[in-house]
């Protein structure tokens, strides 16, 4: 699967992993990953280790996730982004909304 989900032991942290291109084709899968969970997690981690490419629709999807996770009160982290992906996130200054590492 191109979008994998994983819950931590205590069920409080949801990790979503994106493989390959993070673009509009992943829209439904990505939404299902956080909407179809039985419990709302306290924090969400988006793991981009195997993500090769990110476009503006992916940025939009991250905004949807953030909104779903509580907006300004949310705890959404974006981790393991490659330098190319980080550049894209940096131009849009998304580090002002997400913890990016």
């Amino acid at each position: 699967m191109a979008v994998e989900t994983d819950f931590s032991q205590d069920g409080k942290k949801l990790t979503i992993k994106i493989k390959g291109r993070f673009d509009f084709g992943k829209h439904q899968e990505f939404r299902d990953a956080y909407e179809r969970q039985p419990r709302r997690p306290d924090s969400v981690v988006v793991d981009l280790k195997d993500t090769t490419y990110l476009d503006s629709s992916a940025l939009g999807m991250l905004l949807l996730l953030r909104d779903h996770a509580g907006g300004d009160d949310s705890d959404v982290r974006v981790v393991h982004a490659s330098s190319d992906v980080r550049k894209i996130l940096a131009i849009s200054n998304f580090e002002k909304l997400f913890d990016i590492s």
Partner: protein
């Protein structure tokens, strides 16, 4: 035994007994049958009755099965009319001939009702599949035309909204695809009443109508507020709030907003999510880079939105190059991107600024990239005084009632000075005076100049000598923001007095500040160029108004407009 679907079947067979038998077999399977004795009859019957399936004997007199098949297939056109050849030919050559003539299957003699039934059902499935494909293709074509028409209409509406722009000004050169709107790419330009040029380069997420729809409200805000002389911060806040309100959560607009002020020799910049813009010297050298420092519009709510801008010097002849990410994202056949490095090389190699655009486009073409629909380029040269264009005047009344005998005092104090600029509202008010409408631009320039003097030099005590170079500009505006942020006391007061006079009237403006004042004579006696760029623009004010003088140690400016 009833068939799944009753078909009309043509049976062409020259043997009379065989023909009888075959017709009966097919009829018993629930189909409607008509028969022919030879190929010629078969074709004629096909034209007349248009059967859905054809059983054709390969060897017939007059016209054989092969020729009949060829003609029938041609007559059938796009639709699939399955042809089953009846043949005892068992050499490969014979069977190949059947296929080449357009046959879809064979039946050998002696006829087996079971096998024939199975073949007919299989052929019918194919026939219906083809019919479905054709119908869907036609539906798609219809929808496509419909969509194209919707886009045409959307674009027409948008063009009407965007028509008041000044992209055709002599100091702007731009390139935009006709599909730009439907790629979410936006390019707007307008003059403020005081003659500043404001430019917006935008890029909405998404494609097609969803991307285009956000452009219209944004353009209305941009043009409306710019024409009324609102400052960049106010326009940005309004644009952000509007988009945040109307766009869904996952949509936003990357934007680069610029304000070129010939008066102040500067450009004010706000970049949220757009690629770097470039500030170029007269010889084309890159002087500075206008980088994205903000989140795009439509994401943050009003409390968190950051409207802070960067101010850089821009002398006449210096230029700004702006571009959308379609330029950098142009890919070659190996999916490599054109990128910033290549663009910087084009900028570095450029010798003649007039040719810069062409050189960028040629570099993109040479790169071997597939041409994209979302390439937007904009080259703006700092204009000279002659190139200014008066802004269109916006009136909300019929022009018949004009108050001529009134006064007004307006004082802004403390922290209100930080977030609120009263000048646009006051100019609106002054537009009630019909005799002054032709000089709205001058009114705006004078009031803006006096207000910014009063605020920056008066209340905040900033020294404009700082604005000598790029770093100086940055320092000055940083200090301005800092001082405004901690301001608790201080005020700027504006008083208007309007009196009728003979056939016309007189407007007296007083702008007072709580600052330390300045040596008016000394400033007025400085050479005028030095004065205008880093001084108090006093000569400008004297030039534009009917008269001007200062009192109270420079703390109070008196200006008159007579008509």
């Amino acid at each position: 035994m009833p068939a799944e679907q009753a078909l009309t079947v043509l049976v062409a067979e020259d043997g009379a007994a065989d023909r009888l038998l075959l017709a009966q077999i097919v009829r018993r399977q629930g189909h409607q049958v008509f028969t022919a004795e030879n190929g010629e009859q078969a074709v004629a019957l096909f034209i007349e009755r248009r059967p859905q399936l054809v059983l054709l004997d390969a060897l017939m007199p007059v016209m054989d099965g092969f020729e009949a098949a060829r003609q029938i297939k041609t007559l059938a056109g796009e639709a699939l009319v399955p042809i089953i050849f009846l043949t005892s030919l068992n050499e490969e050559e014979g069977l190949v001939r059947c296929l080449e003539a357009g046959g879809d299957d064979f039946m050998a003699k002696p006829y087996s009702a079971v096998i024939l039934g199975a073949k007919i059902r299989a052929m019918d499935r194919l026939r219906r599949l083809q019919a479905t494909v054709l119908e869907q293709r036609d539906q798609i074509t219809r929808h496509h035309h419909h969509l194209l028409n919707e886009q045409r209409v959307a674009k027409a509406v948008f063009d009407k909204v965007a028509h008041s722009g000044c992209l055709a000004a002599p100091n702007i050169r731009y390139l935009q695809s006709p599909y730009a709107l439907f790629n979410g790419d936006l390019m707007l330009a307008a003059f403020t009443p005081s003659g500043d040029m404001r430019v917006l380069l935008g890029d909405f997420t998404g494609h097609g109508l969803p991307a285009a729809v956000g452009a219209m409200p944004l353009a209305e805000v941009f043009y409306g507020m710019t024409a009324k002389g609102y400052g960049m911060a106010q326009v940005l806040r309004e644009m952000n709030a509007k988009l945040k309100r109307i766009l869904p959560v996952d949509m936003f607009c990357c934007a680069l907003l610029l304000n070129l002020s010939m008066q102040r020799g500067s450009v004010e910049v706000w970049n949220g999510g757009m690629p770097d813009g470039y500030r170029l010297a007269v010889d084309g050298q890159v002087l500075s880079v206008l980088s994205s420092r903000h989140l795009p519009l439509g994401i943050l709510d009003a409390e968190r939105f950051d409207d802070s801008t960067e101010v850089l010097p821009l002398a006449p002849g210096e230029r700004l190059l702006l571009l959308s990410d379609g330029v950098l994202d142009t890919a070659d056949y190996q999916e490599r991107l054109f990128g910033v490095q290549r663009l910087r090389r084009v900028l570095a190699d450029n010798r003649d600024p007039v040719r810069l655009f062409d050189e960028v486009m040629q570099a993109l073409e040479r790169f071997g990239g597939r041409p994209r629909d979302d390439i937007s380029l904009c080259d703006i040269r700092m204009f000279s005084a002659e190139e200014r264009v008066p802004a269109p005047m916006i009136y909300s009344d019929s022009g018949r009632s004009s108050p001529l005998d009134w006064s007004l005092g307006f004082e802004v104090r403390g922290q209100s000075l930080n977030r609120f600029n009263p000048v646009p509202y006051l100019v609106q008010l002054l537009q009630e005076i019909h005799g002054l409408r032709a000089r709205t631009g001058n009114l705006h320039s004078v009031l803006s100049e006096l207000y910014s003097n009063a605020l920056e030099h008066g209340v905040l005590g900033l020294d404009s000598q700082l604005k000598r170079d790029v770093q100086g500009f940055a320092d000055y505006y940083q200090e301005r923001a800092r001082r405004l942020g901690v301001l608790t006391d201080g005020y700027v007061r504006i008083d208007f007095q309007v009196e009728p006079q003979a056939d016309g009237g007189r407007l007296m403006i007083e702008v007072r500040d709580s600052g330390a004042g300045f040596d008016v004579q000394r400033v007025l006696s400085r050479p005028s160029l030095a004065q205008e760029l880093s001084g108090r623009g006093l000569n400008l004010v004297r030039r534009l108004a009917s008269s001007a003088h200062w009192s109270d140690g420079g703390r109070c400016a008196h200006v008159e407009f007579v008509w």
